[in-house]
Symmetry: C2
Subunit: 581 residues, 2 copies
């Protein structure tokens, strides 16, 4: 490609609404152009990156035996009503009516449509396994779209769906996909982790997120530096302490803590470590009758160490809380504790509640908690002596750095990540809802065992930039750079020698199948170099009259601090050796 | 590709709602699957064809200097309000509201968005010309979607838009695109014509449709077998006759024609040729005030030879009718002619009307028309003698086969076509509406001169099938076949020799970059052959035990009436020689 035939449009300033570096740099590099909130034009420079991402995904999906199809962007509501998602999903599902006032949705994913295809097409177990995928435009009407392509409303996703005859086969299909994802992410040339994720009601370990490591990531990734263990924060288990509960050494003492309503404030006031305090969280569950009316509510008190945070996913799995919980109302709190929030605790309650202690709290001695009395806490609290053992002990907190790794191989560390892929074993959730069956080997109809597998195609370039950039701009990995090599001739319009050398080298790269751009715009060197550093092309060759006189060109990798002089005849080989595609 | 890793799903019967052969065959061959009215899943077999169409389009667009981008499917209404299309377009424009009740549309085309890009990106004449294109999902909420991919609601279109500094440059850009379209359609391997089309208010000849020739086509294509002349029916000019008007030979005679209200009936009754009759069409134009109220109406009488049809586009260009016309109401007809339709004519009117005679009618003598008296016509009518010369003479009819070609090179012929591409010079229609300007060489802002260029990517396979099929199924041209070559081994599961020969040949084709499928499903020969003839793969190689014993395989091209025996060692060369890709 020659620059004069392309569209290069760089900006000095990022738009005011671009909060994250990938959004800023993609806009400044002319890769995307905002059309509306969360809706972007993919400009030629950006589309090249997207197409390279798609090509890698497509190749590896095909290699893994998945078959590409394309499902409509606009989908009739009927199928979505079969699974109940048409009603259940929030306003992020964009609903439309056509000219005949019939309901449609714009696909955010395609479980319904693909399951509808399967129940018509896959009639016998002999046709299984099958994996159908598409690389297609999606829409989610996010309440607060932001961060450019990171959380847009319209985006491109690769979504794949596997259909199997039984759970074992489905798990095998899942593993094939998980392996394909590793190959895909390896090829992107990004640092990433595959982390165990919560698989909701289905259980088991068959849910993994693929996270691109980036300090700016929205997700916390938990991993063990000494082993393969990695999980997202929702999923990572906080092991039970192995030590026994220490003996009580302090008397239970009502202590004035005027105006100190948080554990941090109390610890500071009392000059103790935050880890000696216990925080009280009050939840409630409701029993509902057939008419959907609440017939009975149960109040729960959750106890966590003051320096720990509640993990809602884990709480949602505690027996009794797994029916769905909510935070208790102020009146429920007053009714049971006789006190307002900030000074709550498990002692001296007005009415009994069910108490769930975090594994850590269950083994504490001489701890501090609210006194159920305004402006007061109790110090020196001890299980058994001052209050009965908790009703339940469970892992209900987020892990923190330094916790023991669940695989016993060291201590956990935490880093930030950006989710760009997810593999998930669905079981029969959709096939049962849509009565999607095949004829099993025993001659009876059986529900498909399904898996779903997503990659955020347009999100990936943003994640790559969050991970790989410097003050000058983007640093693309070779595999997904808009151009792999840029040739920058200086004074091409003045010097026949420069022009000839540039055209010759350009032709050489083209013939070798290298994705090269020749910058024939006639820009001044400074502006030209700044453009390509902003755009992030990984390999640059500069051709100048002065260099040619010495028989040399200059090569500079995007991460190199300085250029390397290379003899004219060696340049092609020199660059080729550095290419990672 | 091996069949066992793919999704092959053929049907014996076409769905009841499939009216045209392409819809029937694409459904039966498992290429598309209906999801809703005018909305289809592109199944793996069909998607392969679509991707090949896309690849050819993309290559040639790039070669022609156009640059690919992608504009959002969901577009904010604001830009569409700037051009007025948000209000003006009918219900085929699918309008949506998001969660904040803001208006959006699903793109049917993207003139507004691309013009918005241009007015921001192309600031100087030095950046021009530019041509941006996308291959993207579109939606038109057709009132009556039908014919499968031929007239769907959701479809894929390649739309390109050129931006130029002046009309001359725009016309050059247009010619570059017209030439690229010829290359594209040549590569598809289809019989097609580029036909001149009406360019509406913009005038000139810069509008061409690319029509795939097919007997089932919706459009009539006019062409001259001796020359390059081709136009669509709307556009094709009916030349003025070169002969002088013959002298009158008959007296004007009121002739009873009881119950004979059409020219055809009258000609039959009187035993004369239909071409001696003249039909009367009554139109009206309205003058409207600022409040949109009709303040005055004008009634028009159009006279056409009995065997000719009115051409609405041509009528819409007649001075006075070019403000927009309608058919006259019954009461307007009674008021001016004192008679009901069926017996109307230009003689003995109650109130004067403006008379437009078709070029042909203006040179007729001794003609027959309605008498403005129920059950009566007048014969022997002559201009000048019986009525004044017409107010206007114009080309207002469709041409018919045998008319003189406008280029003077013979007589016109007519065939049917399916429109799959359109190149169009837009002028400043959109740039003016959206105030899209660039800085011209004289330092002043100037409006972009634009062109737009479409190809119906998903319509093309349907058109290809309408042109190329037989009673057994589809006959794909090599370039867009889902697979170019299919290897059909007979008894692959029983015979090691067959299996080895099949795998060897398969590997050979793959290594040569041929898009080959090995049918390893183990189907019986009859069913297997029927599948591939239905799917329409252009080249088939059959491997059997019996053949191998004689050292031979069988090759059959999809259009061949019988198979050819080919020595095992020669098969690869034999097939390669026949490939057109």
């Amino acid at each position: 490609m020659k620059a004069s035939q392309f569209l290069i449009s760089t900006l000095k300033e990022a738009p005011a609404d671009a909060e994250v570096v990938s959004h800023q740099l993609m806009t400044r590099a002319g890769m995307i152009k905002k059309l509306g909130a969360g809706i972007y034009n993919y400009m030629p420079m950006g589309l090249r990156v997207i197409r390279k991402v798609e090509a890698i995904v497509r190749e590896e999906m095909n290699r893994a035996g998945a078959v590409e199809c394309a499902m409509p962007v606009v989908q009739p509501a009927e199928l979505w009503q079969e699974t109940g998602r048409f009603e259940k999903m929030g306003p992020e599902l964009l609903r439309i009516q056509d000219r005949h006032a019939r309901d449609f949705v714009i696909q955010p994913t395609s479980e319904e449509v693909v399951t509808d295809i399967a129940r018509q097409e896959f009639r016998s177990y002999k046709q299984l396994p099958k994996n159908l995928y598409q690389i297609q435009t999606k829409f989610r009407d996010e309440r607060r779209p932001r961060f450019g392509l990171m959380r847009g409303r319209e985006f491109i996703m690769k979504d794949a769906y596997s259909f199997d005859r039984d759970p074992e086969a489905a798990k095998a299909s899942y593993q094939v996909m998980a392996a394909a994802y590793r190959r895909i992410f390896d090829r992107f040339g990004l640092r990433y982790r595959a982390v165990a994720a919560d698989s909701g009601a289905i259980g088991g370990d068959l849910s993994e997120e693929f996270q691109v490591i980036a300090a700016t990531g929205e997700d916390a990734i938990v991993y063990c530096p000494n082993s393969e263990y990695a999980a997202n924060m929702e999923k990572a288990e906080a092991l039970a302490p192995t030590h026994a509960r220490p003996a009580a050494t302090q008397p239970q003492t009502l202590t004035p803590t005027p105006g100190k309503a948080t554990c941090g404030e109390v610890a500071e006031l009392l000059g103790v470590d935050l880890s000696t305090t216990v925080k009280s969280l009050v939840l409630a569950t409701d029993e509902v009758n057939d008419q959907g009316e609440i017939v009975k509510s149960q109040v729960w008190l959750l106890l966590l160490r003051g320096d720990h945070d509640m993990n809602e996913i884990k709480v949602g799995k505690v027996p009794g809380l797994d029916v769905g919980f909510r935070f208790a109302t102020l009146s429920e709190i007053e009714e049971h504790f006789g006190c307002k929030p900030g000074y709550l605790g498990p002692l001296n309650m007005k009415k009994p509640v069910r108490i769930v202690a975090d594994r850590e709290v269950a083994l504490m001695a001489d701890w501090i908690c609210g006194a159920n009395q305004i402006d007061h806490h109790i110090t020196g609290v001890n299980w058994g002596r001052d209050l009965p053992e908790p009703d339940l002990v469970a892992d209900i907190r987020n892990v923190v750095a330094g916790d023991k790794s669940p695989d016993g191989k060291g201590e956990l560390a935490i880093e930030r990540g950006i989710e760009i892929g997810h593999v998930f074993y669905l079981g029969t959730k959709y096939s049962k809802a849509m009565n999607a069956t095949f004829l099993a080997e025993d001659g009876k109809p059986a529900f498909f065992e399904m898996g779903c597998y997503g990659i955020g195609v347009t999100r990936l370039p943003a994640a790559a930039i969050e991970q790989n950039h410097d003050e000058r701009g983007i640093i693309w990995p070779d595999a997904i750079a808009p151009f792999t090599v840029v040739i920058c001739p200086i004074g091409m319009d003045r010097s026949e020698e420069v022009k000839a050398a540039a055209e010759k080298l350009y032709a050489e790269f083209l013939a070798a199948g290298v994705d090269v751009l020749l910058d024939d715009r006639g820009e001044r060197p400074g502006a030209m170099f700044a453009d390509w550093e902003l755009i992030g092309v990984p390999h640059r060759v500069v051709i100048s009259d002065r260099g040619l006189k010495e028989g040399q060109l200059e090569y500079q990798g995007r991460r190199d601090t300085a250029a390397t002089k290379v003899a004219v005849g060696d340049v092609f080989a020199h660059v080729k050796e550095r290419l990672k595609v």
